[in-house]
C-alpha cells in the first residue's frame, strides 16, 4: 500500500520535473557558455598584467601549461602556495605570481553582471571545458587535503543563520525541491556526482556563466549566512567536500541551467 502511494506521488511530481528536463535538453544545443569559453581561451594566452605575460605557464596541478583534465583533480594541495586551492583560487594565484597583479586586482569582479564581464568566469569556462568527459579524480593524499575535506563536511552539516539552515537541510535528502526546481541530494554519491559535474553552468535566467564559487556564494545568501568570501578557505573546503564525493563520475560542464 505504502509502496503504491509513493510511486503515485513520485509520478505527480515527475511531470513538472520532466518538463524542466525537456527545457534543458532544448537549450543544450546552443549553450552560450561557449562564448565564455572562447573569451577565456583568448584571455588565457594574452599577455596581461604588470609583467605582461600570459597564463600559459600557470600550473593547475598537472604541470605548467596543462589545462586538459586539470579541473577534474581540483581542489588539491599546492606546495608552492602551501595551501589547498580550487580552480578560482589557483587562477588568482597565477595572476598574482606570474602576471604581477595585486591580490586585490586579481580578485576584482569575480562574478559578472549586466554591465561588467568577469575575466575569472571566462577563465573558469575555458579551463573546465577542457575537462569535459574526464573522470573526477580528487585526491585526499595530503594531510592538508584531508583536513579541508573534513572541514567541508562539517560545514555541510552545520546549522546556523537566521533560518537555522544547514546545506544539508535542503541537500541532505532525496526528492526535496525549491519551487519547481528539484534539489540534488548532495549527501548521496549519485546526487553529488550529478550536481558537481554540471557546474559551472550558463544560467539562462541571469544570462551569465556561473562558476562554482558563485554557486556556493549564492547558497550562502539564500541560507542568510554571512557572505562567503571569494577564494576563502571556507569556500574551498565545501568545494573539496563536494568534488571528492563526485569522484569517479565523468565531468560534463559548462552546462546550461534554467
Amino acid at each position: 500500500m505504502s509502496v503504491a502511494f509513493f510511486a503515485c506521488a513520485a509520478f505527480a511530481q515527475g511531470s513538472a520535473v520532466d518538463e524542466i528536463a525537456k527545457y534543458r535538453a532544448a537549450l543544450q544545443d546552443g549553450n552560450p557558455a561557449e562564448l565564455w569559453e572562447a573569451r577565456g581561451e583568448a584571455l588565457w594566452s594574452a599577455p596581461r598584467g604588470p609583467k605582461n605575460v600570459s597564463l600559459e605557464r600557470c600550473d593547475l596541478g598537472l604541470g605548467p601549461g596543462v589545462v586538459k583534465g586539470a579541473y577534474a583533480q581540483l581542489p588539491k594541495y599546492f606546495a608552492d602556495a602551501d595551501r589547498v586551492q580550487d580552480l578560482e583560487t589557483r587562477i588568482v594565484w597565477c595572476m598574482v605570481t606570474l602576471q604581477g597583479f595585486s591580490d586585490a586586482d586579481a580578485k576584482k569582479g569575480p562574478f559578472g553582471g549586466p554591465d561588467r564581464k568577469s575575466d575569472i568566469e571566462a577563465f573558469v569556462a575555458y579551463v573546465t571545458a577542457a575537462s569535459r568527459g574526464v573522470k573526477m579524480n580528487v585526491s585526499l593524499a595530503a594531510p592538508q587535503e584531508q583536513e579541508m575535506y573534513r572541514l567541508g563536511e562539517k560545514m555541510f552539516y552545520f546549522r546556523g543563520g537566521t533560518h537555522d539552515f544547514a546545506c544539508a537541510t535542503c541537500h541532505g535528502e532525496d526528492g526535496k525541491r525549491i519551487r519547481l526546481q528539484d534539489l540534488p541530494n548532495l549527501s548521496s554519491v549519485e546526487g553529488a556526482r550529478k550536481a558537481y559535474t554540471t557546474w559551472p553552468a550558463y544560467r539562462v535566467s541571469q544570462g551569465e556563466l556561473r562558476s562554482f564559487q558563485w554557486r556556493l556564494n549564492d547558497c550562502f545568501r539564500q541560507q542568510r549566512f554571512p557572505e562567503l568570501v571569494f577564494t576563502s578557505d571556507a569556500s574551498i573546503a565545501l568545494t573539496m567536500f563536494l568534488a571528492r564525493n563526485a569522484n569517479g563520475a565523468a565531468f560534463d560542464a559548462p552546462a546550461i541551467k534554467r
Binding site: G30, N31, L35, A38
Partner: protein, 103 residues
C-alpha cells in the same frame, strides 16, 4: 569590438544546417538599473547570412530576442569546406561579422 560569434554549419541531406550563438546584451529598454534609471535599449537589429555571395537569410530583430541569442536555420545547397558568413548590426550601429566552414 563585440565578442565573436560561435558558428557551426553541417550538411544535412541536400541542405546545410547552420547554428549560431551571438554575444550580445540585447537590452530591451524596459529594464531599470540599481539607481532606478532606465537602461537604454540596445539590441541586434539585423542579421544576414550569406553563402557563395548570395544572401540565404536576412532577419530584422527587435528587443524581444533573448540575451546571447541562438539562431538555427537551414538553407538549400551548401558544400563541405565552403564558408558561411553571418553578420549583424545592432541599434548602436555596432557590427560583427564571422564565418565558418561547413563541416
Amino acid at each position: 569590438m563585440p565578442d565573436p560569434m560561435k558558428i557551426r554549419a553541417t550538411v544535412v541531406g541536400d541542405s546545410t544546417e547552420v547554428k549560431v550563438i551571438m554575444s550580445h546584451e540585447m537590452e530591451t529598454g524596459q529594464r531599470k538599473d540599481a539607481q532606478g534609471k532606465v537602461v537604454p535599449a540596445w539590441f541586434i537589429q539585423s542579421v544576414t547570412a550569406t553563402y557563395g555571395g548570395k544572401t540565404v537569410l536576412s532577419a530584422q530583430w527587435g528587443p524581444a530576442i533573448a540575451k546571447n541569442p541562438f539562431l538555427a536555420f537551414r538553407f538549400k545547397g551548401g558544400a563541405k569546406g565552403e564558408k558561411v558568413q553571418i553578420a549583424w548590426v545592432d541599434s548602436r550601429g555596432e557590427k560583427r561579422s564571422d564565418e565558418a566552414a561547413i563541416g
